[in-house]
Amino acid sequence: MKLMFPSGLWLLLVVAGVVAIYLLRMPRRRFSVADLAPWLQVARAGRRMSSERRTLISLLLQVAIALALVLAFARPYFAGTDGGRLELVLIDLSGSTRACDATKLKVLEGLEKPARTGPSRLDQEKLALQTMIRALNPGDRMTIVGVGARTTIVSSGESEPAILERSVALLEARNESAAFAPACQLAVELAKSEKNVRVTVIDNGSADSNDFAALNNLPDAVGKIRCVRAGKSSENVGIVGFKSRKKLNSDEIESTVTLFSSASQPLKIPVELYLDGKVQRATIAEIAPGATQVVNFSMDYRRGGTLKARLAVQDALQEDNEAVDFLPAPHRMKVALVTREPMDEKAANEYYLARVLRSDTGVEGGFLAAADYQKIAQDKNALKSQFEAVVFDNWAPPANELPPCHALFVNAESPEIPVLVKGVLGDKPLIRKWDEGHPLMNYLNMRDVFLKRAKDLQLTDKSTDVVAELVSSPLILAREIGRRKVAYLGFNPADSDIQFKKELPLFVLNCFEWFKRGIEPVTQIAPGEALSIAVDSAWKSVTVSPPDNGAPQKIDIPPGAENVMFYDTFRPGVYRYRVDTEPTPSRGFAVNFGSQRVSNLSASDAIRIGTIGDRGGISNSRAEAVTLDALVEHQASANLWAYFAAFAVMLLAAENYLFHRRIFF
């Protein structure tokens, strides 16, 4: 006979306590008195047994009761083996183990919150593991391998059940899908150095049999691989993909929500899109059983914040009913309009080019006279920090005063657009050709544009693109110099009817859109994925604030670094970061997890491990499906504790009856 909880034998100290109490209860010391004392005779008259003997019997009974109780607590059993085995357990910790299979699928109304019914799949897996721990024989050890996208060793060769149970209690589902293949390879490596190994796989049915192929490399001595499946097929609809992006050449955001249904019937699911907690778009998606459905939302890009897609539904797995993305605040490009002559506020705002700037909500415009611009140009830092684009109208600064940013030259030449002005074409020149594919020409129709006069130009550099041209001369030119973009208009719009047409605002708007184009910051990553944060040379540190008011993490920027890495991205949600010069975080990124494998809660086929035959099937599977009860091999003897407990109760009752009723004493 062995004990499941040998540590419980420490309770035997209670027996010492019982003995101590009885020592105190022993009859008092005898004093010799005259035998004639009549009261002694009277006292002995009704006694059947001496008090010494009575106390001793009572003590023995009490000790027997205490021993029975302690043994019951220590869970004695008759072991099937001699011990010394290594139990190697692979436990699925993927996102789908959060599913509560008993939860009924229903559409939520208004502020209704989803409810869960029954235990989660992880709870069932833990129960299975705890059952295995209780079934360990003395000398047995257990290695628990947690399986997610990353494989982790939860417990390595541990023999103490209490420690193992504690480790199991701390297990949590991860925002990952289960990658069993590397975990199985690890199990094979771990098994190599052991003589007596048994492998058990506890999964929730989301894994594919092919993932377990590596377990076939286990030595034959390992025998059958026990497979315990927690959970059953249940109905679930989840978001498996969610991404938002700014549409090209448009101030609109397009959000794509990909849904997957493992329900057994077609469903109509309300899909909602929130920005910082406020609903922006809502629709009802019809989704067939086992199918994937894509829902697109389009909305104006007016504000940044946390974008959240939500399915207003209650189902087995609630974690996949929401997905997040980070939408950076729309950037308003700082643009200066520079003209030769100064203008007052009214005149500047009514100027035809200023009106175009005013109509663009993506621009923060200002007007400067040439003289004022030249003052600013003396301070190179100001020139760099204050402008992102400059429009030079009929005037251009000398080469040493050019801004280090994007520029649009209107009827003004600059060394950055190397052209030779041969003269003026004054006889209503005709626009002959334009490049519809160039970003500056989006939605433009130059066919209708009438010019009174234009410059007769000769292009002297091949790196410059001719966007539109007259019969004998280029008209609109564009050039990219590193990250900077420069555009040139070879006529004065005031000498054309373009100023009354949509072509002028469209051209200027296209210029700004073209200027803004560049590498988009990463706004969404998967849990655990490292993020590279691009940094400016003026920054000294970046402080990242995790979701749900987690403790901020400061990252110092080494001198000369162009980016820093942030690794602690395991928690889904929106992370915001700020640089040392900012009071509040304005940038951020989202950690979002979605996987069809996790959202698919329909039961997969039983695991089969073995050599694949000619027909692609496995004829002799090493996998053995095991139920929860079958995990304890000494089930019958494991209930011995109940007999000990019952014996203790019986003794207690007997002692109480006999001692206090004084039947024999």
């Binding site: 101030d251 609109e252 909602e272 309009l337 200023a354 009106r355 007007f367 050709k433 066919r447 005031a494």
Partner: protein, 421 residues
């Protein structure tokens, strides 16, 4: 005789007071049972699936119980005048003087002579009655059960809130009052827009009838609920272009709030000065170009567009310009096709020139020379009408179209701006 009536009147008054006090007391005591009944009724209403409003009727059990208690108390408080006199004596500490006087008064009523003892007793009672003071208000004792009853009634209110939690929509999820007003105005104003045909009017009317969401309903709903409802109504509506119109109305719920917020941000920024402080401390001041802040008009335009309502034409030359545009495009396409051009570049020739109309050419030339002239205004209007048509066709993305509309508003000048507001 009047003197003798003093005793009977006093007793009658006291008797009435006693009846009143006991009825009130019984009524107040009955509140306890009213509270218990109300609690049970609320639970029953919940179990039967009745609404919160219906369940609230359970509180009627409390005043009903009070009234029943009052009636029963009134009934049970009946006592003879002699018994009332005894109580009055006890109340005033008169040692049965009034009761005796009343007894002898009733006993010897109608007899000519009374015994001297009776006369003395009556006289004594009369003296006592003359000096007796009942007070202005009856002496009411607040029963303990009434306190308990009120407590149970209060618990009952809590019970109702517990079983039927109040429907409070969080601010961030509620449809704002401004949005509600704007949407109602927008819906009401749709039929009166210029350029709406009789057929469209009928269509709009049908659509609005099927949409029909009251203000009270809107208050109870979250924005998501409202959108979902509009979606559902859009699916039910079988009209021609209803689907896009319902979609536009649905999106308006969220867009209106965002536009208002952005409008405020832009207005705030527009008021800031445009100034640079250079490294040497020198300040350079320019002029801030005030960005045209977005208005609710954007949403109205979208809804109108979704219903196929076109902007009113302001230019006489629109038709001709449109025809010429199409003609020139066709000519160009044909010319390019003939020479086998397949590049993305677009080339034109003189024959494809737009605006061959002499009047327009004259106006255009004048407009270039004097952009503030009448001719410039006509050219602007013609081009804006063309642009409106292009936007209505949907070739230009909505955000770009919005910017172009901003530009048109600014180009149209102050008079037009007022109209847009």
């Amino acid at each position: 005789m009047d003197d003798l009536n003093t005793i009977t009147n006093l007793i009658a008054r006291f008797r009435r007071r006693l009846t009143f006090a006991e009825a009130i007391r019984a009524g107040l005591s009955a509140i306890l049972w009213g509270g218990v009944a109300a609690s049970i009724l609320i639970v029953a209403a919940k179990v039967c699936g009745l609404s919160r409003g219906v369940a609230a009727f359970s509180f009627c059990a409390i005043p009903a119980a009070f009234l029943v208690g009052l009636a029963m108390g009134w009934k049970h408080s009946f006592r003879s005048p002699y018994a009332a006199a005894k109580l009055l004596d006890k109340h005033l500490g008169l040692n049965d003087r009034l009761a005796n006087a009343h007894y002898f008064l009733l006993k010897d009523q109608g007899k000519a002579g009374r015994s001297s003892l009776a006369a003395l007793a009556i006289q004594d009672g009369l003296n006592a009655a003359r000096n007796a003071k009942l007070g202005r208000i009856p002496n009411l004792l607040w029963p303990r059960s009434a306190t308990l009853g009120l407590l149970i009634s209060a618990v009952c209110v809590g019970w109702l809130y517990l079983l039927y939690p109040p429907h409070i929509v969080p601010t961030e999820q509620a449809v704002t009052q401004e949005t509600q007003n704007e949407m109602l105005n927008m819906i009401q104003g749709l039929q009166d827009l210029p350029g709406v045909s009789a057929e469209q009017k009928d269509d709009i009317k049908k659509m609005l009838e099927s949409m029909n969401i009251s203000e009270a309903e809107m208050k109870k709903m979250t924005s998501a609920d409202l959108m979902r409802l509009i979606s559902a109504k859009g699916i039910d509506y079988k009209g021609g272009g209803g689907a896009t119109a319902f979609e536009a109305m649905k999106n308006a719920v969220a867009d209106l709030d965002q536009i208002r917020q952005q409008h405020d941000e832009f207005e705030r920024k527009n008021k800031e000065s445009y100034q640079f402080v250079l490294a040497n401390g020198q300040k350079v001041t320019g002029v801030r170009i005030a960005t045209q802040a977005p208005t609710e008009q954007i949403v109205r335009d979208r809804v109108q567009r979704s219903m196929g309502i076109k902007a009113a034409v302001e230019s006489e030359e629109l038709e001709q310009l449109q025809r010429q545009t199409e003609l020139s495009a066709a000519n160009t396409k044909a010319a390019r096709g003939k020479i086998g051009l397949k590049t993305t570049a677009v080339a034109i020739d003189a024959s494809a020139l737009l605006a061959t109309d002499e009047k327009y050419q004259k106006d255009r030339d004048t407009a270039i020379d004097d952009p503030k002239s009448e001719a410039a205004l006509r050219v602007k209007r013609a081009n804006q009408d063309l642009l409106n048509r292009e936007i209505e066709k949907g070739d230009i993305p909505s955000a770009t179209a919005e910017k172009l509309k901003n530009w048109m508003r600014l180009e149209s000048g102050p008079a037009k701006k007022e109209e847009h507001r």
